[in-house]
């Protein structure tokens, strides 16, 4: 446990990753899940940059934006179709139509 304190950047990135992951799991609302996702992604980029990644990668931030945009597009279409943001409710309605 020695250098957990001088590695405090990475420790904080991991805690942020955990919080994002918990938000993703606990909330049933689609928008909250997407916010949880982008928090997990920015935590990983913080971890990446804290490692002194010489390339100063700016590309992954673009990947996370495009993924967020795709998820938001799916949410808009789902809302138009099922009129709710609750993912469990949506799956229940989809399954009932299927039966």
């Amino acid at each position: 446990m020695g250098n957990l304190f001088n590695n405090y950047e990475e420790a904080c990135a991991i805690i942020l990753f955990g919080i994002g992951f918990t938000t993703l799991l606990l909330h049933r609302n689609m928008i909250k899940k997407i916010i949880g996702f982008s928090m997990m992604d920015s935590a990983i980029y913080l971890f990446l940059a804290a490692k002194g990644y010489i390339a100063g990668r700016k590309a992954p931030i673009v990947v996370s934006v495009s993924v967020t945009a795709l998820m938001l597009a799916l949410t808009v279409r789902l809302y138009r179709r099922y009129h709710t943001l609750d993912i469990d409710e949506i799956t229940m309605q989809a399954r009932r139509e299927e039966a």
Partner: protein, 498 residues
Amino acid sequence: MQLWQNLPFAMILLPLASASLTSILKGKAARRAALTVITLVTLMAAALVIFMQGYGQSYTFMMGHFPAPWGNEIRAGMLEAVTALCFALVMLFSVMGGLRDIEHDILPDRQNLYFVMCELTTAALMAQVFTNDVFTGYVFLEIMTIAACALISARTKGRTLVAATRYMIMNLVGSGLFLLGLTLLYDLTGHLLMSNIQEKIIALSATGKYQQPLTMVIALVTIGLGIKSALFPFHTWVPDAYSSSTPTSSAILSSLISKGYIFLLIKFYYRVFGLREVVNAQVEDVLLVFGAAGAVIGSVLAIRQLDIRRMIAYSSVAQIGYIYMAIGLGTQSGMTAALFQLMAHAICKSLLFIATGGLCAASGEKRGFTSLRGAAYRNPVAGAAFVVGAFSMIGIPFLSGFVVKLAYAEAAVLWGGPRMITVLAVLAISTMLNAIYFGRTVVTLFRLSEEKIAQQQKWHSGPCFAVACAALSLLTFALGLAADPVLAAIRSGLEMFS
């Protein structure tokens, strides 16, 4: 640097460049452009296999002016060439087989975007097969995830959107963990090239430093890629994703995209960590247990299904469990069996999905077993293709499934002890379960009273469909009868793989 060694570079860049071209073409022209590009890639893959036999050992191709640890690099060997050929063939026949459904289901002005997705999936697959750089693997893994989500949601019906959302949620968690593993790997070794990383890891394990983070890296990479390739406990998104969208998307998703991730995992085990490192990190036993559980439970769930495409989706969960079980053996022969199953299953599963597309089209787009009764008479080509696919999945001799099960048994017997018993038991149980649900489906397709057979109106699925079904069935027979050259190629490929 002979000219033919530029083939892998061309196989990645050609679909990538033509994707932006297809996005501005209209429906018909886009279809022609996509088919010609994928055919070209298949021909290049075949040429590469022929040259590779003469060449004998793997070579690296510098992407740019700077040698290995600084610039990017791709590496081609016998195993990569054979896998690339198999992937390209399956992609070509999946797209050809599902052409009618693409025109029927997807709105006209979005069809060219659908073909853009197919081309970019081909480019990403080739890049993952040939890459020798960890971060390039992540980038093209991301391209495949978004392409797969677009392929699922191409039909924009209610159910496909739910399936696409669940697919994205699970896969993003998977690629997040994978990137976390890569970052740790970069921090421990300072390199991004697979061969350099292995030298550093051997040095690390010699000095015994950073052992706990190293095991953590192997675990993160395995879980990340396991989630993305529908390993057993993370397979909940599979039935919706594979069964709701067009037959081509299901074929591409189930046989190509999950296989690309598994091939990347095998490359990580061989070229980044080294098999010895992975074995003494006890990851192998976990994979064996999950694979075995997946194989049995996947088949049991498949029996319960009333919708034919969900049944095939569950059967592909079982087959992926098979592959992970073979990887879990951790020996050379286990890996050979896993790679052969990877190719045989890719061909067989796309054959099944394309044939089911034809059968459902013949029985009025309904997928329940009751409405599919006698569909084989309405669409004889699809019926014959389905029978070949089903028998190969069961493991009838002279078909690829039989050789797969033979290779598994051989790998298990070589290992001996409790693992042999588990693998052989799982082989027996799941073969019997496969026989039940595939047999039942084949019986349903052909079971119709005589006078009803006469009045069935024939359904013509077009020449492309027939060519695709015939080609995939021939490939299944070829793998069944002439399996030795392919197995020899895989073994020699594995020698020069690490």
